[in-house]
C-alpha cells in the first residue's frame, strides 16, 4: 500500500490552548483511518488544518509524496480532499442536484444551469457507490441519512480521493449507520481513502484499518483493531492526567432531595434524547453525570429546571412534584441551576454586574417593593456578593460582558449560592475556565455539599466528575448505563461506559 497523505508535526495554537501538538498521521491508499479522541482532544482542529480552514503554526502536509500548502477549502478540494461535515452544509429548499452543483455549477451556453448533466452524474455516482438518492428531491424532504448521502455525493462529485468524515454517525439511527458503513466499504473498495473521526470505540473496532488516538492535542497512540481492544483504546483516549485534587471529606448522604423517574424528553428535532431515565440525589452528596456531550445531558437539565417539556415520567424535588413546572416555581422551592452556557442562558451580557447578580430574584424583597425595583438594595447585596465571592470587577455597574469568563461564572455562582438552596443542578460549571477559577468553583460546590445541599453535577470533563462526585452516573444515548461509586471506579471503566460499551463492572 502506498502512502497517500502524511501529516508531519502539525502544531496549532489558539490563545491559551494548544489544540494540536506535533501530530503525525499517515493515511495509506485505500484504507480507513480512524481518528479517535474525546471532545476537545483536537480531532476537529486537525481536520480543519487539513481542510484549509486553519493554517498550522508548525508542521507540513504531504500528499502523494509532495509537500502541499492548503490555505482554503478550495485548495483542499483541488488536491482531492473532501470533507463530510457533521453538521450538513445543505440548503433545504434546493434540490439534491442544485445542492451538489452549488459552488461548482456547470453551465449551458455560459449562463444557464446545466441541471441535466449534473443530475446524470449524480445518478452515476449513486450507482457506483451505492448511494441511493433521488437527484430531483428537495433536501428538506429527505431523512438525515439521505442528507448525509448528499453530502458524500457532493464530495465525490468534486472528485475527492481523500474523504474526511467528521463524526458521521452522531446524527444517524442505528439502521442508517449500517447503511453508511456499506457505503464506506464500497468507497474503499473503489480506491478512495477515508479519515473517520469518532469517539465511539465500537465503530472504530468495526471499520478501521488503522487507528490514531488523540489526547489533549497529542497523538496518544497509533494502532490497528487487530492488536488492540476497546479497553486499551479507552485508556489511551482518556489519558492518565494528574487529577484535579479537591479536598473533601466523605459524603454524609441524607434524605432524597431529587428523584427522577422514567423521564422521557425530546430534543429540538423531536427525537428522544432522554430515554426512561431514573436517578436519585440525596442531601449532602454529589451525583456526577459523566458522558460524551450530546447524549441527552442538556435536555435532562432543561427538563429538570422547567426549560423543556417532559414527555413522560416524573420529577420530584424536596417531596414536591415539579414535572413540567415553570422555571420560577422550580427555583422558588429551593433549587438552583448553573446553566451549561453562561453567556446564553445565565447572564444578560449588556446588563450590569449588579443586575446580573439578582437576575432571577429581582422581583422578591428586598430587591423590589410592588413594581418598584430597589436599586439601592440591589447595590448593597451586589457589593456584598462581589466581595464574598471574590468577583474581580472594576465596579458593580459595569456590564458583565467586561468581565473575564471566570468572573462571569463567579457572578452566576454568587447569585445561585447566595440563596438558601437544597438542590443544585450544575451543568458544566467550569467550562472554559482557568485553573484558578476551576479550583474556586469546585471548592464552593463542595462547601454547598457539606452544608447539606444535594448536587447534580453534569460535565463531559472526566477530571471534574472524578474530582467532585461521590457517585457517578454515566449517560449514553439518553440512558444512564450505570451508577458507580466514585471511590471504586476507574477512568477506564468510565471511558468505556461513556463510549457506550456496556460491561458489568466487577468491583
Amino acid at each position: 500500500m502506498s502512502v497517500l497523505l502524511e501529516l508531519n508535526g502539525i502544531t496549532k495554537k489558539f490563545p491559551g490552548v494548544l489544540a494540536n501538538y506535533r501530530v503525525d498521521l499517515t493515511l495509506n491508499q485505500g484504507e480507513i483511518l480512524a481518528l479517535l479522541g474525546e471532545n476537545g482532544a483536537g480531532k476537529t482542529t486537525l481536520m480543519n488544518v487539513l481542510y484549509g480552514l486553519y493554517s498550522p503554526d508548525e508542521g507540513e502536509i504531504f500528499v502523494r509524496g509532495s509537500k502541499v500548502d492548503i490555505h482554503s477549502p478550495h485548495d483542499a478540494i483541488d488536491i482531492g480532499i473532501g470533507m463530510v461535515h457533521q453538521h450538513f452544509m445543505l440548503i433545504p429548499v434546493f434540490t439534491v442536484t442544485e445542492n451538489v452543483m452549488l459552488g461548482d455549477e456547470s453551465l449551458k451556453a455560459g449562463v444557464f444551469l446545466d441541471r441535466a448533466s449534473v443530475s446524470a452524474r449524480i445518478s452515476e455516482i449513486s450507482e457506483q457507490f451505492g448511494l441511493k438518492v433521488d437527484p430531483n428531491a428537495l433536501i428538506e424532504d429527505l431523512s438525515v441519512g439521505e442528507q448525509q448521502r448528499v453530502e458524500i455525493i457532493k464530495v465525490l462529485y468534486r472528485e475527492a480521493d481523500i474523504l474526511i468524515f467528521d463524526e458521521p454517525t452522531a446524527v444517524l439511527t442505528p439502521q442508517e449507520v449500517v447503511e453508511l458503513f456499506k457505503v464506506i466499504h464500497s468507497l474503499v473498495d473503489q480506491g478512495k481513502s477515508l479519515i473517520f473521526i469518532t469517539h465511539k470505540l465500537n465503530e472504530v473496532m468495526d471499520i478501521a484499518d488503522n487507528i490514531v488516538v488523540l489526547h489533549n492535542g497529542r497523538v496518544a497512540g497509533t494502532t490497528t483493531p487487530g492488536e488492540t481492544n476497546p479497553k486499551i483504546l479507552a485508556n489511551m483516549m482518556v489519558g492518565r492526567d494528574v487529577l484535579l485534587v479537591v479536598d473533601k471529606e466523605p459524603a454524609q448522604p441524607q434524605e432524597v432531595i431529587l428523584k427522577v423517574e422514567n423521564l422521557r424528553v425530546l430534543d429540538d428535532r423531536k427525537l428522544v434524547s432522554v430515554d426512561e431515565l431514573s436517578l436519585k440525589v440525596r442531601a449532602g452528596e454529589i451525583l456526577g453525570v459523566a458522558g460524551v456531550q450530546g447524549n441527552g445531558q442538556t435536555e435532562l437539565v432543561e427538563a429538570l429546571t422547567g426549560l423543556r417539556k417532559i414527555e413522560s415520567g416524573k420529577v420530584n424535588m424536596m417531596g414536591e412534584d415539579t414535572s413540567n413546572g415553570s422555571p420560577r416555581s422550580i427555583r422558588e422551592i429551593g433549587s438552583a441551576h448553573v446553566p451549561e452556557d453562561r453567556q446564553q442562558d445565565g447572564l444578560v451580557l449588556s446588563f450590569s454586574v449588579a443586575d446580573n447578580l439578582v437576575l432571577n430574584t429581582y422581583y422578591e424583597p428586598p430587591f423590589a417593593r410592588g413594581i418598584s425595583f430597589k436599586e439601592d438594595e440591589v447595590a448593597i447585596a451586589a457589593t456584598e456578593r462581589v466581595k464574598l465571592f471574590d468577583i474581580r470587577t472594576p465596579s458593580i455597574t459595569v456590564p458583565v460582558s467586561n468581565l473575564s469568563g471566570g468572573n462571569q461564572q463567579k457572578v452566576i455562582v454568587a447569585r445561585e449560592f447566595s440563596r438558601p438552596i437544597k438542590l443544585l443542578i450544575a451543568s458544566q460549571p467550569t467550562r472554559g475556565l482557568d485553573v484558578g477559577s476551576i479550583e474556586y468553583i469546585h471548592n464552593q460546590i463542595i462547601k454547598k455539599r457539606d452544608d447539606g445541599c444535594a448536587i447534580l453535577l453534569i460535565s463531559p470533563e472526566l477530571d471534574e466528575i472524578l474530582a467532585l462526585s461521590d457517585r457517578i452516573a454515566v449517560m449514553y444515548e439518553g440512558k444512564i448505563l450505570d451508577i458507580l461509586s466514585a471511590e471504586e471506579v476507574t477512568r477506564e471503566q468510565l471511558g468505556l461506559l461513556m463510549a457506550g460499551v456496556e460491561e458489568k463492572v466487577v468491583v
Binding site: L359, F373, E375
Partner: protein
C-alpha cells in the same frame, strides 16, 4: 493563589462605596459614552456638511461659478460657502425665530406691554416644538419596543386609531367638565393604540408570526379604517371627510394666545418620556422587558414568561403610538383629518435609533428633527432651498447612526472595546 490572566485589567476589586446610578451614568457610563454620544453628534455634523454641499451644488449660481473655476477660483469657493451659510442661517431663523425680531418684540413689550409682537417673534420656536411633540411620543413608542426586542413598525397605524378614538370621544360627548372629559378622551386614544399594538404582540407570542410584518399590515388596516370612518360614520354632518370638532373641554390647552400653537402636549410628552425611563429602569416589569430584549434565553432561565412580556411590550408601545394621535387631535387640529400625520410613525423609527432607544436620547433626537422641520419652510422661502433637503439630511443622520463604521472610518475613530448589547432587535428572521 492562582493569579488570573485578567487580574491586571481589573486591579481595583469591588468598590465599597455605594454606587450612584444617576441618569447620566446610566447612559454615558453603562452604555459607553462613545456609542451614546460621539457617534450621533458626528453623524449629525456629517449630515449637515453633506447637506450643505447638496444645497450649494443644487444652486445654479454656484454651479456657474464652478464652471468658471479656473478664471475665478475664489469666487466659486466664496459662492459655495455663501450658499451654505444662507441656507443654514435661514434654517436656524426658521427654527428658533429671527434674533432681531425677538429683541424688537421685547422692546415693544417693555415699552407698551403689548405681547402681540412677542408672540409673533416666538411663533417659529413654538411651531418647532409643536412638531417635536408627536416625534417624542412616537419615538418613545419605538424605543420601548426596541428595549423589549420588538420592532414596532406600526406606530403610524396606532397613531391613527388613537386619533380616531380620541376624536370620537372628544366630539360625541359634550357637557362634561374638562377635568373629566380630557382624561377620558386621552384614555380612549391610549387604549385604542394599545389594542392595535397588542394584536401583533399576541400573534408574535402565540404563533411566532413576526411583528414587523404584522405591524405593517395593521397600518394598512388602520389607514383604510380611517378612510371608511371619515367618509361614513365619523364624517362631519356636511359630509366632508373630516370629523366634527372636538369639544373644547377635551382640548389639550394652548400655552399662549394665537399665533403660538404650542400646547400642554409638549410637557405631557416630556413627562411621558420621564415615565418611560422610570418604568424601564426603576421597575421590575421594566427590567423584565429589558431582559427579554437583551437575552430572551436568560430571561426564560430567570423565570420570566416571554409571551406575557411580548404582549405587554407591544401594548405599551401601541399605547404610546396612540398617544401620538391623541396629541395631534386634542392639541393641534382639534378634529381628525386624513392627513393629520405627516408620517410621524415612520420617522419615529429613525428617532429611536438616533436616540439609542433611551427616552432622553429620543427627546433630544425629536428636538433635532422638530427644529429642522420647523426651520425648513423659511429655508425654502428665503434661501430657495427645497424643504426636501431636510429629509435627505435626516436620512443621512440615520444611515450614519445605523452604520457607525462609516463615521468611525471617516474620523479615524477606534472601535470601542466592547460592543454593547443590541438596542435594535434582530430582524434577520423576516
Amino acid at each position: 493563589m492562582n493569579e488570573e490572566k485578567d487580574s491586571n485589567q481589573t486591579k481595583a476589586p469591588s468598590q465599597n462605596q455605594k454606587d450612584e446610578r444617576n441618569l447620566l451614568q446610566r447612559i454615558f457610563v453603562r452604555r459607553g459614552a462613545f456609542n451614546a454620544l460621539v457617534i450621533p453628534l458626528l453623524s449629525i455634523f456629517t449630515a449637515l456638511l453633506i447637506g450643505g454641499l447638496i444645497i450649494a451644488f443644487s444652486n445654479l449660481e454656484v454651479l456657474a461659478a464652478w464652471s468658471n473655476f479656473f478664471q475665478a477660483p475664489l469666487e466659486a469657493v466664496k459662492l459655495t460657502l455663501a450658499s451654505m451659510w444662507g441656507a443654514y442661517t435661514s434654517l436656524f431663523e426658521g427654527a428658533f425665530g429671527i434674533p432681531k425680531d425677538i429683541i424688537e418684540a421685547f422692546r415693544i413689550w417693555l415699552e407698551t406691554g403689548e405681547t402681540r409682537a412677542l408672540r409673533e417673534a416666538f411663533r417659529s420656536f413654538s411651531e418647532s416644538l409643536v412638531i417635536t411633540t408627536p416625534y417624542i411620543f412616537a419615538g418613545l413608542a419605538v424605543a420601548l419596543g426596541f428595549r423589549g426586542g420588538l420592532f414596532n413598525i406600526g406606530v403610524e397605524g396606532q397613531l391613527f386609531v388613537g386619533g380616531l378614538a380620541s376624536a370620537y370621544v372628544g366630539y360625541s360627548i359634550t357637557g362634561l367638565p374638562w377635568i373629566i372629559h380630557l382624561p377620558l378622551t386621552v384614555l380612549a386614544g391610549i387604549l385604542a393604540g394599545a389594542f392595535w399594538g397588542a394584536i401583533p404582540g399576541i400573534l408574535k407570542a402565540k404563533t411566532g408570526a413576526h411583528e414587523v410584518i404584522n405591524t405593517i399590515m395593521m397600518n394598512y388596516i388602520a389607514f383604510r379604517l380611517t378612510d371608511y370612518l371619515l367618509t361614513g360614520p365619523m364624517a362631519r354632518p356636511d359630509n366632508l371627510p373630516i370629523t366634527p370638532e372636538v369639544a373644547p373641554s377635551a382640548y389639550l390647552p394652548a400655552l399662549f394666545d394665537k399665533p403660538m400653537r404650542i400646547h400642554w402636549g409638549f410637557f405631557v410628552a416630556l413627562g411621558v418620556a420621564w415615565l418611560v425611563y422610570w418604568f424601564l429602569w426603576k421597575t421590575t416589569t421594566g427590567l423584565e422587558i429589558r431582559m427579554v430584549g437583551a437575552n430572551p434565553k436568560a430571561a426564560r432561565y430567570a423565570g420570566i414568561s416571554i409571551t406575557v412580556i411580548i404582549v405587554l411590550t407591544m401594548s405599551l408601545s401601541g399605547a404610546l403610538g396612540g398617544m401620538t394621535g391623541v396629541n395631534q387631535v386634542l392639541g393641534v387640529d382639534h378634529r381628525l383629518v386624513r392627513a393629520f400625520s405627516t408620517g410621524y410613525g415612520f420617522d419615529s423609527i429613525a428617532l429611536a435609533l438616533l436616540g439609542n432607544s433611551h427616552p432622553l436620547g429620543v427627546v433630544l433626537a425629536s428636538l433635532l428633527f422638530g427644529f429642522m422641520r420647523g426651520g425648513a419652510a423659511r429655508m425654502q422661502s428665503v434661501a430657495g432651498v427645497p424643504v426636501e433637503i431636510i429629509r435627505i439630511m435626516q436620512g443621512l443622520v440615520i444611515i450614519f447612526v445605523a452604520a457607525p463604521e462609516i463615521i468611525r472610518s471617516l474620523y479615524r475613530l477606534k472601535k470601542p472595546k466592547e460592543e454593547e448589547g443590541p438596542t435594535v432587535p434582530d430582524v434577520s428572521m423576516v
